[in-house]
Symmetry: C2
Subunit: 329 residues, 2 copies
DNA sequence: CTGTTAGCGCGTTCAA
DNA sequence: TTGAACGCGCTAACAG
C-alpha cells in the first residue's frame, strides 16, 4: 500500500508538506505543491480514511437507522439523504432494524463505536428507552418521521393531513367515515393521524362509530383485514374510508372489490404516502404526498449543520400536498 | 473518550494484556482476565474500530453499490445482504449511483479508499470501463444481477425464465406474442431475457413481427408507452405480451385498460419480479419470483468467503419460480 | 515556507 | 504469563 511517506520521498519533501498540499492548509510553495501534485497524480495515491479518522476524530460517515428499506417512505428518505450527504463528501452506513426495537438500540451503540459523525434515525417510535439511549450516546442525531423534545427532528404534518382529508370527504357529502390506522405507539402515523381524523369529525358534529376505526400494520394484507372488520362489524355502514398508508388503502380496496363493491360509489377511499402505484390503481387513489426525499435532504442538512456547529433548526415540519384522484367522490 | 489505556490502568495491567483479553489471543491469567473484563463491563468500553482498522487492515465494512433503492429488486437484495452480513459483524456502506454509470466508477474508487473489506455491486451493465475498474481496484467484489467472466457473480436465470414464460403463452394457444424489454446494454434484463423469448418463438416455429418488440426503461410510464407502440404499429395484433419487469407490465396494463381492452381476453400479459403489488392488480399479474433476498444472502456469503480466503463459487445462478395468475389465459 | 516531532488507539512482536 | 516498545498512516503543533 502506498502511503504519505512514499509520496513525500518521491516528491522530495516532508510528510507534513504533502499533508498540507492534500488538505489545502498552511503555506506551501508553488514549486513544492506542483511536485507533490504530480506524484500524487502519477501514483493515484489517496490518503487512508482510517488513519485520518484516528487523528481528526471525523469519519465523514453518517449512520442511518431504518425499519426496512422495502417500503417507499424510508427508501425515498434515504435517497434524499444520500443525495445531499454525498454533495459534502459524506457516506451512509446502513443499519436495518427489520422493525426490531431492540436492534434499534443496538445499532445506536454500534454506530457510536464506528464513530460515525452523525446519525439519522428514521423512527417509528419514541419509547423512553430509545430516547434515553439517544441522550446517552451523545452523538449528533436527527430523527425523521417522529417528533421528540430535545432532539432535532424532521416530521410531517400528520395531524393536519388527516384532518384535511377528513374535511375533504365531508365536503363531498360523506358523514360516515371509517378509519384504518396503526398502533399508537407510532406517534406520527398511529396517534396524530388518528387524532386529526377524530378532531375533524367532532368539529363537524359527526359521530364516529367504534367499528369504523380499525388498526392494521404496515402491509397490504392488514388493510384487507381491516376493511373486512369494518364491513362486518359496523351496524351503520360507512361510505368513505381513510387509510393511514397507501398500502393499507390498497388492501382495503382489494377487499371491497372482492365483495363486489364499487369504488368510489359504494365506498370512497383515500391513503397517505403517494406511492408510485397509487395512480395506477383502479380507480386511481386519492392520497397525500409527503415529499419524503425532500425530508431526507432536510434531515441531511440539519445533521451536517449540527456536526459543523452551525445553526440548525431543532424542529422542521414538512409541507404536504393532497393528491385528489378518482377514488374519492 | 475512553481508550485501552484507561482500561489498562483501571485494571492494573498493561495495554497488551487488555488487548489479549479483548481478542482472546495469547495467554492471560485467569485473575488478570477477570479484572479486565470487570472494568470493561463497568465502563462500557468498546475499542475504536478505526484504530483497529489501521492496525489490522480490516474494517468489517462491505460497500454496496446500487442504481437506486427505490425499486423492489435492489432493496430486497440489500435486505438479504444486510441480514447475512450483520450475522458476521459486518456493516453496509451504501453507495447510490442513481443510475449514473460515471458514479459507479467513482464509488468503486471511493470504497477502495474507505478500505472496505469487500464490495457488492448490484450491476446494470458490464461495460469494459466498469470491468477494468473492478480489476484495477483489486478488492474482493461480488456482482449481483449480471454475469461476468473472472468476477464472482450471482445472477438469475434470465434466459430460461423468459423462455419458459414464452412457452407458457404458447401452450395456452397464443401465437402472436409481443415483448417489452429494455436496452441490451443491460445484458441480463435487456439481452438474455429477450433472447429467451426470441429463441422459444423460433423453436416453436413462430415468427416475430418487428413491431411486437418494444423497449422501455425501468419505470411504469415507459411500459405504457411501449404498449401504445405495439398496438399502434403492429399490423398483426398480438394476443399476449411479456414485459421484462412488473413495472413495465403495470404500465402496459394501464394502457390496455385505457383502450378498453380486456386482460387477459384481448391481451394476456406477464411480468418479471414478483413485485408485492403484482397480486393486487386487476387482474393479478403472472410474474416470475427471482428470490432477490436470497440472492443477496448468497452474495454476502460469497464475499465473506472471498475475504476470509475460504473457497467460494465464482458463479451462482439463482432458481426462479413462475407465479401464474389471472393475467394469463 | 518547511521539516521535525509527537501522538491518535490499537495489535503484535520480543524479552523478561 | 506479562509488559515495553514499535508502528499502522495521518495531522497538527512547533521550531526553524
Amino acid at each position: 500500500m502506498i502511503t504519505i511517506k512514499d509520496i513525500a520521498e518521491m516528491a522530495n519533501v516532508s510528510r507534513s508538506t504533502v499533508s498540507r498540499v492534500l488538505n489545502d492548509s498552511g503555506y506551501v510553495s508553488e514549486d513544492a505543491r506542483k511536485r507533490v501534485e504530480r506524484v500524487v497524480k502519477e501514483t493515484g495515491y489517496v490518503p487512508s480514511e482510517h488513519a485520518k479518522s484516528l487523528r481528526t476524530k471525523k469519519t465523514k460517515v453518517i449512520g442511518v437507522i431504518l425499519p426496512t428499506i422495502q417500503t417507499e417512505t424510508p427508501s425515498r428518505i434515504v435517497t434524499g439523504l444520500g443525495r445531499e450527504l454525498s454533495k459534502h463528501g459524506y457516506q451512509i452506513l446502513l443499519a436495518n432494524t427489520d422493525h426490531d426495537k431492540e436492534k434499534e438500540l443496538e445499532f445506536l451503540d454500534l454506530l457510536k463505536v464506528r464513530q460515525v459523525d452523525g446519525i439519522v434515525l428514521i423512527a417509528t417510535n419514541t419509547d423512553d428507552k430509545l430516547m434515553e439511549k439517544i441522550k446517552e450516546i451523545n452523538t449528533p442525531l436527527v430523527m425523521i418521521g417522529q417528533e421528540a423534545e430535545g432532539v432535532i427532528h424532521v416530521t410531517y404534518n400528520d395531524y393536519r393531513a388527516t384532518k384535511e382529508l377528513t374535511r375533504l370527504f365531508i365536503q363531498k357529502g360523506h358523514e360516515k367515515i371509517a378509519f384504518i390506522g396503526v398502533d399508537e405507539s407510532d406517534r406520527s402515523v398511529g396517534h396524530f393521524r388518528k387524532q386529526g381524523y377524530l378532531d375533524e369529525m367532532a368539529a363537524q358534529g359527526l359521530s364516529v362509530d367504534k367499528a369504523w376505526v380499525q388498526k392494521g400494520i404496515f402491509d397490504i394484507e392488514s388493510g384487507y383485514e381491516a376493511m373486512k372488520q369494518i364491513l362486518n362489524h359496523a351496524v351503520n355502514k360507512p361510505t368513505a374510508t381513510i387509510a393511514v398508508t397507501d398500502r393499507l388503502a390498497i388492501g382495503a380496496m382489494s377487499y371491497l372489490k372482492e365483495q363486489g363493491m364499487d369504488i368510489p360509489t359504494d365506498m370512497a377511499i383515500a391513503g397517505i404516502g403517494a406511492s408510485e402505484m397509487s395512480q395506477y390503481l383502479e380507480p386511481p387513489l386519492t392520497t397525500v404526498d409527503y415529499q419524503n426525499e425532500k425530508a431526507g435532504e432536510e434531515g441531511a442538512k440539519q445533521i451536517l449543520a449540527c456536526i459543523n456547529s452551525k445553526p440548525f433548526q431543532e424542529r422542521i415540519v414538512m409541507n404536504y400536498r393532497l393528491i385528489i384522484r378518482e377514488s374519492v367522490q
